[in-house]
């Protein structure tokens, strides 16, 4: 009956045994090494991916820290700039005040100098006027006057002129 169906037990057994041998050989030489290799690669990719995720989260945290520190640095910088500006202004005010004080001193000194010089000039002018007056008077009367007496008279006259002009 089996022969009529074309079934041959010898062929079946040969194929069966041969296929089992192929399975055993390929299991050892191909499937196990390649599946292990693929598993290792999959694991490596998974690990790399996890590492990348970890690195990314670290980087994010670091970025946050940096942003925070940057904000702090900017605040400190702003504070220091403001302080520097303030100190600069104080310094400038000091310089201005000092300059102003020096200028006032110089002005006072200059005023005093001017007064002294004016007084000197007035004295000199008086002396010159007295001298000229005496010289003119001597020429007019033809005799020599007492110098000291005349000088006192003339000075008195000039002072009276000054009083009249002031009045």
């Amino acid at each position: 009956m089996l022969e009529a169906l074309g079934i041959d037990l010898a062929q079946i057994l040969t194929t069966w045994a041969g296929f089992l041998i192929v399975v055993l050989i390929l299991r050892k030489t191909a499937w196990k090494p390649l599946l292990d290799f693929l598993d290792a690669r999959r694991e490596k990719i998974r690990k790399d991916y996890a590492d990348a995720e970890h690195a990314l989260s670290d980087a994010e945290a670091l970025k946050g820290d940096f942003a925070h520190k940057l904000a702090d640095i900017k605040a400190i910088e702003r504070e220091r700039v403001q302080e520097a500006v303030k100190r600069g202004e104080q310094f400038a005010d000091g310089i201005v005040a000092e300059a102003r004080a020096k200028a006032e001193v110089a002005l006072e000194k200059a005023k005093a100098d001017i007064d002294i010089e004016a007084e000197k000039a007035q004295i000199q002018l008086r002396a010159d006027v007295v001298d000229m007056t005496i010289a003119v008077a001597e020429k007019l009367i033809g005799e020599r006057l007492d110098d000291e007496k005349h000088r006192a008279l003339i000075r008195q006259y000039i002072e009276s002129l000054g009083r009249v002009s002031h009045a």
Partner: protein, 320 residues
């Protein structure tokens, strides 16, 4: 592109010539009109069917049939060696396919690197694809069964595709080969069932995994049915594969003969119209599909025998 065109032309040329050159068309498929058949074609169809490894129908000449013809020494009477060779033709070609498979996969596995070649990438793609397929059906324990199931797929695929190569022969177009594969799967599945469930669990499973009293009442009916079902599974596997591949081979052979017949008027030997080409492309598709169907059904049989499947089915049944 240029390389693939050249390859296509070579294959077309081979098929064109071989279509007319294959000497051993059966009288039935060639309707006694193979125009350029070698003298071996004059052999009686009945005698060929008896010693062609159970193939049963006409098939173009193969390497084995040519060697067998040489062993006959030009005579028509079978010698013991030629008859033996023809009887185990399928096994010879299965051995060739196996050797090719082992050489290819072992060499790729041996030379594997972190920077894979195209061949390694292709093999990895197949291995990974098959593993994922089995895991989607069986679950995490699929790794243990992958070598068997994967080898089964590749063995069937290689043998199926061998039938499309001139002077080769698809061992899977012989019922004895597919029966052997189905018997392998049958014993493998049963051994897994015994190991995973234990003897009592295995018998419980064969009884239909009864839980309620009513289900236990049906055990005398269900047990023989399940046992019968376990025997029918490999039969259906083997018959499906055999029928498809044998049909494909027969159709290809018929079209080759038709192609040769269409150009018979020009009396040029070795030339035939390659009208078998569309059938061969179809054959490539069905070869892959049939290998996948056989393997996938074997995977499902394994999955059904694993304990968690019973629990899942039970839970699902309870849920309904």
């Amino acid at each position: 592109m240029r390389r693939s065109t050249t390859l296509l032309l070579v294959v077309a040329g081979l098929c064109l010539g071989v279509g007319a050159a294959w000497p051993e068309f059966s009288a039935a498929s060639a309707a006694g009109d193979a125009p350029h058949a070698a003298p071996a074609a004059a052999e009686e169809p009945g005698a060929e069917a008896a010693h062609d490894g159970g193939h049963g129908g006409g098939h173009p000449a193969t390497l084995v049939s040519i060697v067998a013809a040489l062993l006959r020494g030009g005579g028509h009477a079978d010698t013991k060696a030629s008859a033996g060779l023809m009887r185990f033709q399928a096994q010879v070609f299965a051995a060739i396919a196996s050797a090719l498979l082992i050489w290819l996969l072992s060499s790729v596995a041996r030379r594997r690197t972190e920077h894979p070649s195209r061949l390694q990438m292709a093999v990895e793609l197949v291995f990974d694809g098959l593993y994922n397929l089995f895991r989607s059906v069986i679950g995490p324990s699929a790794r243990r069964y992958t070598p068997y199931l994967g080898t089964l797929f590749l063995f069937i695929l290689f043998n199926n595709l061998m039938g499309l190569v001139p002077f080769m022969f698809a061992a899977t177009s012989v019922l004895n080969t597919t029966l052997a594969l189905a018997i392998c799967t049958f014993f493998y599945v049963q051994s897994i069932a015994l190991r995973e469930n234990g003897l009592l669990g295995y018998l419980h499973h064969l009884a239909g995994s009864p839980r309620s009293g009513l289900e236990w009442g049906f055990v005398p009916l269900m047990f023989p049915l399940h046992v019968l079902g376990e025997f029918i599974k490999p039969m259906s596997l083997s018959l499906r594969l055999y029928g498809n591949i044998f049909g494909e081979e027969t159709l290809t052979a018929t079209f080759i003969v038709l192609g040769a017949g269409l150009l018979a008027w020009c009396h040029v030997p070795w030339v035939g119209l390659p009208i078998q080409f569309p059938i061969m492309f179809l054959g490539m598709l069905t070869s892959t599909i049939q290998a996948l169907v056989f393997t996938l059904l074997s995977t499902v049989y394994i999955a059904l025998m694993l304990p968690h499947h019973d629990e899942g089915r039970g839970a699902a049944a309870h849920a309904h």
